[in-house]
């Protein structure tokens, strides 16, 4: 005969569920208020920035001239003009940076994960990439200035900017590739080997497609990030109010450089150009982030 089971059958001497005590309720409310406040404090500046940007920069967005013309021939007080020249500059510089940095970075990432795992060379490379990823953009600019312009004797140009952006972009691409390849389970590689597929083909046809979505997204987000880099621009290229398609010759505008330059013109037209260029840059980056989401969906691994 057991007696300890009777506990459960004995009628309860007090209700099992009690009302929330005052202390608990006060704590609960305090916590709710604190978290709410933190949220507001974090979000207000963001909304504020966006609001200011749109309020000041909306007017240019709405004119066709803004998207089709440059500031060529405009005096500091002349209204109107367009951002086309800077858009061309930013897109060209970023594109050329991507063309150099993406294949290079993806290859390095593949080497590090698929071939060099734990080798000395791989560890050294990873270390260098880590250092490079902390490189301040102004230093990247200085380095390219010293190398490309002082040592090799080339002129300041849009291409010099692309080169400095490569320095900033490369570690991003390597890191993203590394991370995404690490996620691919070894079982998939082994499944492929077990079919008699050579390693390089396994990487190309099994591993990369599996991680493609993540790699592409990471790269595009990285590109969106470096699009706004300003420091190297200040050192490596002159500003031009005219349209210049040539990365290798002459001054070339870009969106950040336009914001910076227009700020020095303290006229109403200057304000118009500055905020217009700033909002254009933000819109462009948003557009690219959107593109990243779309591509990520497009290339993601599907199960149905």
């Amino acid at each position: 005969m057991r007696t300890d089971t009777a506990d459960i059958e004995r009628p309860a001497s007090a209700p099992a569920f009690q009302h929330l005590g005052l202390g608990r309720r006060i704590k609960n409310h305090t916590a709710t208020v604190l978290f709410g406040l933190a949220f507001v404090v974090a979000v207000i500046p963001l909304l504020w920035v966006l609001f200011t940007l749109v309020r000041r920069g909306l007017a240019p967005m709405l004119s066709t001239e803004w998207w089709t013309h440059s500031f060529y021939g405009l005096l500091p007080n002349d209204p109107g003009g367009g951002i086309y020249h800077a858009l061309v500059g930013t897109l060209e510089q970023t594109l050329v940076c991507a063309v150099i940095a993406v294949p290079l970075g993806v290859t390095v990432g593949i080497f590090l994960i698929e071939y060099g795992r734990n080798s000395k060379l791989a560890r050294t490379t990873t270390f260098m990439v880590d250092i490079l990823s902390g490189l301040p953009s102004i230093v990247a600019g200085l380095f390219i200035y010293a190398l490309w312009i002082t040592t090799f004797g080339f002129d300041r140009s849009g291409f010099a900017v692309s080169l400095s952006l490569v320095l900033l972009m490369l570690p991003v691409v390597v890191r993203v590739t590394e991370t995404m390849l690490t996620i691919v389970p070894d079982e998939l590689r082994e499944a492929s080997y077990a079919l008699g597929v050579p390693k390089w083909k396994t990487i190309l046809k099994v591993v990369l497609p599996t991680s493609l979505s993540g790699i592409i997204t990471g790269i595009i987000l990285g590109l969106a990030r470096i699009m706004g880099e300003t420091a190297p621009l200040l050192i490596l290229v002159g500003y031009s109010r005219a349209i210049n398609f040539n990365l290798f010759d002459g001054p070339m505008a870009s969106l950040p450089l336009t914001v910076y330059t227009a700020r020095k013109t303290s006229t109403e037209a200057g304000e118009y150009r500055m905020w217009g260029a700033a909002l254009t840059l933000v819109l462009l980056i948003m557009l690219i982030n959107l593109l990243a989401t779309l591509l990520s969906k497009l290339f993601s691994v599907k199960t149905r």
Binding site: A191, S192, Y193, A194, L195, G196, V197, P198, T303, R304
Partner: protein, 258 residues
């Protein structure tokens, strides 16, 4: 097609760790050989050494020889890629290629080897899926991703993928351990059919399964913790289960072990 395997004095290492010692055994053509034994005794390691998958692990090392109808797969100059094309493998966890459709999964081995002939790929897809008893279930959704199938279907897809390249030997590492009893039976039936054309080696934790599907059984054991695993005995399945010659085998089979 199906070929015999002669394993001689096989010693397997992970870096300095001696995982398996002195395994010598024969695997007969067109039969099923089961590897049984406690976890960690090196069944998977031996199995993976048979098609040179062992060396995919960094720091791993192999001594001894594995003869496929008399040809040493470890002879100098032999390309491991070719060995794996001849000795296929099915893994413990179903691992269809997530980016490929069911059809592309089945013919992945051929496609990646450069076969482009649509008609041939079509034929191989159907033949392999029929061979893996999966055709009826998936014939209407060959273009859907392989990852959308159930666990048991995925494992049969992996078997279809493995037999699509028409290997001489099929290695299976606990192919049913992640499956429900019905899928397990489906795969056991499949193994019974496949052995008409293939030489099969299967690792299993399930003693009844070994008894049901295999013609001969090899019992591996760990003599002591930290020591390399060993082959205790190998023999006709009926004999191993009814009248083993080693005490350790009897203990393991009757459940008096670990």
């Amino acid at each position: 097609m199906a070929k015999r395997l002669d394993i001689k004095d096989l010693n397997l290492y992970y870096n300095k760790f001696h995982a398996v010692r002195d395994v010598t055994l024969q695997v007969h053509a067109r039969s099923v050989t089961a590897f049984i034994g406690p976890s960690g005794c090196g069944k998977s390691t031996v199995l993976r050494a048979l098609n040179r998958m062992h060396e995919v692990v960094p720091g791993s090392r192999v001594e001894g020889s594995v003869l496929l109808d008399g040809e040493n797969v470890y002879a100098p100059g032999v390309d491991p890629v070719q060995v794996r094309r001849t000795i296929g493998m099915v893994f413990q966890r179903a691992n269809p290629f997530p980016t490929m459709s069911i059809r592309d999964n089945v013919v992945a081995g051929l496609k990646l080897a450069g076969v482009k002939d649509k008609k041939r790929l079509e034929e191989v897809t159907e033949r392999s899926l029929r061979g893996a008893n999966l055709w009826e279930e998936v014939k209407d959704r060959l273009n859907k991703p392989g990852g959308g199938l159930s666990g048991g279907q995925q494992q049969r897809l992996c078997i279809a993928r493995a037999i699509a390249v028409q290997p001489d030997v099929l290695l299976m590492d606990e192919p049913c351990s992640a499956l429900d009893p019905i899928s397990t039976l489906a795969i056991e039936d499949l193994i019974a059919e496949l052995k008409k054309d293939y030489t099969i080696v299967i690792v299993t934790h399930n003693m009844q399964q070994a008894a049901r599907v295999s013609d001969q059984t090899a019992f591996f054991n760990l003599p002591a913790v930290g020591e390399p695993g060993q082959l205790v005995e190998i023999g006709e399945t009926g004999k191993i289960f009814s009248n083993p010659s080693q005490k350790a085998t009897e203990d393991y089979i009757s459940g008096r072990f670990g």
